[in-house]
Subunit: 395 residues, 2 copies
């Protein structure tokens, strides 16, 4: 293997777009992609592309095509669902329930709702990041305007018991939203089996281009609009549809659905190899998140006595690309609310490193990363006063 070859283990932050999707986008750019609102032929062709993609995306998660609203990003879909549903149901209840490991695009809108008068309830999670359905049953016993729980944290990989959580809400008639950014296209989801009301999905997680994401929202769920204006997306989200990106997302959804089994079968052993070898070969490395109930390609750790940022920079020099947490906050220099929620102290949480594997990664790459990490971690620890103290104490 060429030493200078990039090893990309940061698929959460920017996964390559599937070549089939890029080809379709290129065709659309060359032909003039049109505007589905136009009555002429070019508009009609665009409308057809839009509805085909809607059907493909719906199929990926077992949803009704009519329940798909295309957005530009997962963050937009999360904002729309959380603020839109809660505000539309304020007359029913002023309680909003979330988990402490939500993505910022759920957590911050929920906090905005709190500032405008909602009661914000944050459910506890255990040390693996799992929510206990009983805690939700208790929190929702007097009803709520909305419950929103992430399907799987992209920071610690833990997959939540969404079906049980959704069922508890359904029984109470409370709308349940889940942020499936990290799961749709990565694990099998069938909305027909889960009584959820709203779900955020993003094409980028399964090889769609940036610029297309979606909110699945079931008929009859009231929701105030986030972006108002034109009548696009059944009058629920204004703004011209990004036809090339949406068409690309549709193609990626079709391919993801077809390949989901084999992708999982390829990624899980790599992930487990990485977890096992890293923990065995470097002392004081903690796996974050659940050991089994986790995203197929997701391996996240805290390396004690060092800062994750330093580790990333050293790894980058070796051509290895990883992340320290959520891509949306890595530059905000704040401690991770997710790692805090699972009970890690601030010093340990500093050493966070997240590897998200993709279909192009191989065993040799994982082996190389583990080999490279050992000396890098040693060097960083030698520079760390806390580590020196600990070592001296141990001697």
């Amino acid at each position: 293997m060429d030493d200078r070859k990039e090893i990309f283990l940061d698929h959460n932050s920017a996964r390559a777009t599937r070549s089939e999707a890029v080809e379709e986008m290129s065709r659309l750019f060359a032909d003039g992609f049109g505007n589905p609102q136009s009555v002429h032929d070019r508009g009609q062709r665009a409308a057809e592309k839009l509805e085909n993609a809607r059907a493909e995306v719906a199929s990926l998660v077992g949803a009704d095509p009519e329940d798909i609203i295309f957005t530009a990003t997962g963050s937009e879909a999360n904002n729309m669902a959380v603020k839109g549903i809660a505000r539309a149901r304020k007359n029913r209840s002023n309680r909003v329930i979330i988990s402490p490991i939500e993505h910022h695009s759920v957590a911050i809108p929920a906090d905005s709702l709190r500032k405008e008068g909602f009661e914000l309830v944050t459910l506890p999670v255990d040390s693996t990041g799992l929510i206990d359905p009983d805690s939700l049953a208790k929190a929702v016993s007097d009803g709520a305007a909305l419950v929103s729980v992430i399907h799987a944290s992209t920071e610690i990989g833990t997959i939540e018991p969404i079906r049980e959580l959704a069922a508890i809400c359904a029984e109470k008639g409370v709308p349940f939203h889940t942020d499936s950014w990290g799961t749709a296209g990565s694990i099998k989801i069938d909305c027909k089996d889960i009584p959820l009301n709203a779900m955020t999905i993003a094409g980028q997680n399964f090889g769609g281009p940036p610029g297309a994401a979606a909110l699945v929202i079931r008929k009859g769920v009231p929701m105030k609009k986030l972006i108002e204006g034109g009548v696009q997306e059944r009058n629920r989200r204004a703004g011209q549809e990004n036809i090339p990106a949406i068409a690309g997302m549709g193609i990626a959804a079709r391919l993801a659905l077809r390949e989901i089994g084999q992708t999982t079968a390829a990624l899980v052993p790599l992930r487990d190899m990485m977890i096992k070898n890293l923990i065995e070969s470097i002392e004081d490395v903690i796996l974050t998140g659940h050991p089994e109930k986790r995203l197929p390609g997701h391996a996240s750790f805290c390396v004690k006595y060092i800062e994750g940022e330093g580790l990333l920079l050293f790894l980058n020099q070796k051509g290895i690309m990883a992340a320290s947490g959520s891509a949306c906050t890595s530059r905000s220099l704040k401690g991770s609310h997710v790692l805090e929620a699972i009970g890690l102290d601030a010093a340990t949480a500093q050493g966070s490193v997240v590897f998200t594997l993709g279909p192009e990664n191989g065993k040799d790459e994982i082996g190389k990363v583990i080999d490279e990490m050992k000396p890098v971690v040693s060097r960083l620890r030698e520079m760390s006063p806390i580590y020196r103290e600990k070592k001296n104490g141990a001697l």
Copy 2:
């Protein structure tokens, strides 16, 4: 000319993306475009693309790169500005002032503000769609939370006296936003000369791809966030940046700035040829909007005694593609609020047809459209009971 060749005169609704922009996007898709929030090399390359595009887009309108917030659509930028600024300044004033010819993505958010307690003032326009600066001076005399006036209506083409309007607001210390969707890249704009506080621009209007637009917002203007979450765009707009689309918008901005003079010089004579010949060759055709103060490639009419929709469908059969008004509302089946505002009766407004010309259109195409329109209009009028009545009355 091949008779079956498409004549595309609907550039407002879906302009072709510049090939230079498409090429850059293809390169980024092939190389892995990255996420600017990542600390590794791929992330840094993405951050560089983002900042280069920001500088190019800023140059197009003479803005400071730091004042550019990238969004997905012009509608998103309009919603962010109108709701965000007004809500952030509610403690100063509860008045919001707009024109009656705003795009729906300004008009509907403004109406939402009214429903939440703002006083909404709508300025009058004359029969060409122009706003009298004196009417704004009067409306703003007691201050306002926000004034938002469209730079040029994409429905009737009229260019508003933005500089004067902005100056009136600046004198009163009231933030002035303009929706420059239709003007940025089409006519020369220099923000250094106009005391405006916020401006919506969209890459699609000047050959950028869908998926990238921007809000220019000057430092110090308070604004509540529309999409909350990650720290992207200086913490003013959450959600992963669409790097390929933004890079494409940057390239389109650079090209548009370089070519704006020659594009205008090419489009204005075509536009004027179309206006003159259509009005001369078909009776009872009215130009909508201002005869001179109008967008370079914009020719809009009301053809009396017929429905614009029917005209569009007949023209489409001849390979000629045009629009009946705003692309965002053409399927909403409502009368146009813009045509009503300039004083047209509902029956006349029904006959609206909008041609928006682009750089690839030629004189022969305009000639062909005029030739084709004559028999189509005659045929539609023969089917129109109002026209028959009128004709019988005239005999």
